[in-house]
């Protein structure tokens, strides 16, 4: 079949020509003063907004070219780590609270203190919002959005069950009682008052803090005991037993995404998530949702705190750190850029930007902003920096909460296990 081989050879010739195209068009601008590679994670909505803002930035700063890239959260960190390991990190890096500590401590991103007041005019963010993006006293990221954990619920569903929905200031005990009452008054099959929050590290943290404890101490050790953890698991075991929360296999469907949360899959009337996910939840749910604070301990400490939803950082090896700082400022502080980004990444930390934004917001976004505003008087201080291994502890908690949920372990055993594994994980780092 000599024809077959001949055709291949002709193809190869044409192919080499086609090959050259992406080589030539690989997007390096000529005669620019600075070229910044920029990377973030998010969906296409965020990409649309960010690209528009970037265009505005380039129009306002003709000497700077920005090359934007984005992808989903799942792929972001593997790709970023590969590029950093290869010495090819992008200049502008969107950062997450937990990863920021890892990257900062290993010197992969640079401190931004030298740009404060100059390229980064973000003093009006306030001490708390600046401190929340700092590691060991140095600023490592520009706060993109203020965020806090919260309770998202469907008011109509609670009404249908004949129980008053949870509101700001409700206690943990009251919450459990309401869930039990919901189970009695509910007529929808396979539907419960609440998701099973035992595996949610943020909720656990809120519970610990309201009881005067915390996840970690300043020295990076565990700040709770096996008894505390057992009490936490016992709390949720009781709710589970009373039918107040979803069954463990429903909760196990939750993959830390909005569409797998029991609220979105139609199994629960209440769920727990970060406030900047509220808009996403509303998009996937037909019913009109509302957001309020986590339960508290009557007479206890404030459980919640204001956290940065994400931050913008600069790579340690960036050739154009000052220009990158300008870009960061444009996106989070300059109304020309910040208004384009909106509250899609979180409530802006600058009061001025926030006020400018509010009139343009749609209903769900406004609710998220109002939630942060109403919560702010009741928040406590930032917790200590998470130690190395904190990320792994998150996964350990989920796993043990599942073991308790599926009754492979009692709450007491779960508590002991959690503390034991924590000892290993934190030691390893």
């Amino acid at each position: 079949m000599s024809n077959f081989v001949m055709d291949r050879r002709r193809f190869l010739g044409a192919g080499t020509g086609a090959l050259c195209l992406p080589l030539l068009g690989a997007g390096k601008a000529f005669a620019a003063d600075a070229t910044i590679r920029m990377v973030w994670w998010g969906g296409d909505e965020r990409a649309r907004r960010t690209n528009e803002a970037v265009k505005a930035f380039m129009a306002a700063n003709p000497g700077i070219t920005v090359e934007p890239e984005s992808m989903g959260w799942d792929d972001y960190w593997a790709r970023l780590a590969t590029q950093v390991a290869g010495g090819n990190a992008p200049d502008f890096i969107q950062m997450d609270y937990r990863y920021m500590f890892e990257y900062a401590r290993r010197g992969a991103i640079r401190p931004l203190d030298e740009y404060l007041g100059k390229e980064l005019k973000i003093e009006d963010f306030g001490k708390v919002n600046l401190a929340s993006c700092s590691v060991d006293g140095k600023l490592y990221g520009g706060n993109v959005g203020v965020n806090s954990f919260g309770t998202i619920y469907d008011p109509a569903a609670w009404e249908a069950a004949g129980v008053e929905a949870p509101a700001l200031g409700i206690s943990w005990e009251e919450f459990a009682e309401k869930c039990a009452a919901f189970a009695k008054g509910n007529s929808k099959p396979k539907f419960h008052a609440s998701a099973d929050g035992s595996g949610s590290e943020s909720l656990f943290e809120g519970w610990l803090r309201s009881h005067g404890k915390a996840l970690y101490t300043d020295e990076g050790e565990l700040a709770y005991t096996a008894d505390d953890a057992a009490e936490w698991f016992r709390y949720w075991a009781d709710i589970r037993a009373s039918g107040g929360c979803v069954a463990p296999d429903i909760q196990a469907l939750y993959k830390n995404t909005i569409e797998t949360a029991p609220l979105s899959t139609g199994h629960a009337a209440t769920d727990f998530a970060y406030s900047n996910q509220f808009v996403g939840f509303q998009k996937l749910n037909e019913a009109t949702l509302a957001i309020t604070g986590e339960p508290v301990k009557t007479g206890g400490q404030p459980g919640q705190y204001l956290k940065p939803s994400q931050m913008f950082s600069i790579s340690a090896n960036s050739e154009y750190p000052a220009e990158t700082a300008m870009l960061i400022n444009f996106l989070i502080r300059d109304p020309a850029g910040a208004l384009i980004l909106g509250v899609e990444r979180g409530v802006p930390a600058s009061p001025e930007v926030r006020d400018l934004l509010i009139p343009q917001l749609d209903e769900p976004s406004r609710k998220a902003v109002e939630y942060i505003a109403s919560l702010t008087p009741y928040v406590g201080p930032l917790p200590p920096a998470p130690p190395q291994g904190a990320g792994e502890m998150n996964a350990v908690l989920i796993r043990i909460s599942q073991e308790v949920g599926f009754e492979a372990a009692t709450p007491e055993q779960g508590g002991a296990k959690l503390v034991d594994e924590a000892a290993n994980v934190l030691k390893r780092g």
Binding site: P22, G43, E45, R46, A78, G266, K283
Partner: protein, 292 residues
Amino acid sequence: MTEAAHHDMPGRTGSHPYLRSGLLHALLMAASFVMLYPILWMLAGSLRPASELFGGDAGLIPSQVTLKAYADGWFGLQVNFGRFFLNSLAISVLATLGNVFAASLVAFAFARLTFFGRRFWFALMLGTLMLPYHVTLIPQYVLFLKLGWVNTWLPLIVPKYFAVDAFFIFLMVQFFRGIPRELDEAARMDGCSAWRIYRKVILPLSMPVLATAAIFSFIWTWEDFFGPLIYISNMKMYTVQLGLRSFVDSSGTSSWNELFAMSILSLVPIFLIFLFFQRLLIEGIATTGLKR
């Protein structure tokens, strides 16, 4: 041309031939529905509104049909989705050409030639199949970075011309060994060199496996996600898979409808390639006339 003429296993001469073939058809059709159900559901998902996707009663029939997802998916990203299709097509074609050609050369060596260390190289070749790519990822990235190939398509295409995909070598070895040696020996006695044996004897008789290899190579290159993720930064050079992944962000809202719509569309070209090469698979036998 009726396919029934080929390799028709006797059995139709048994009793109740129509009942048996009818039963077979019924089973196959039931199996087909089961196989296709998830894809049908995805098709339905591409046509229904977002709020209906994950709630309680998301069956096969959408309550309202809208083509919005297709429009949003095609035009909604920074770059037109059609561009991604062209990119994937170019990369897949180039990679497949290299893969099939190079693998056939190497497989011929293993299957038909003797040389010092042949077993050793064969074992090494198989060994390259066993290492998970996540750990060679970073050293390879550094290698390509030094070559200046990062942010181009080169890391996805050039290695194929050097037969790095041991799967295809192994596949062809097994098939080449099924071709009778008498043909080789006859050619040698006529004074043919190894190259002529390869071209005139082995290749023509290997249409089924070459077509198979082409199908797989094309489809796998089309489906490959991790390679493009690491090596392509410029969105204009994205492949279809990268484009699809950009609809999904597990930390926030994902555009599931658009993802489903574009996934359905992206099945079309590879399906067509598959159908096209299927015929080569069948026709290959007709033209080679393999007889003893």
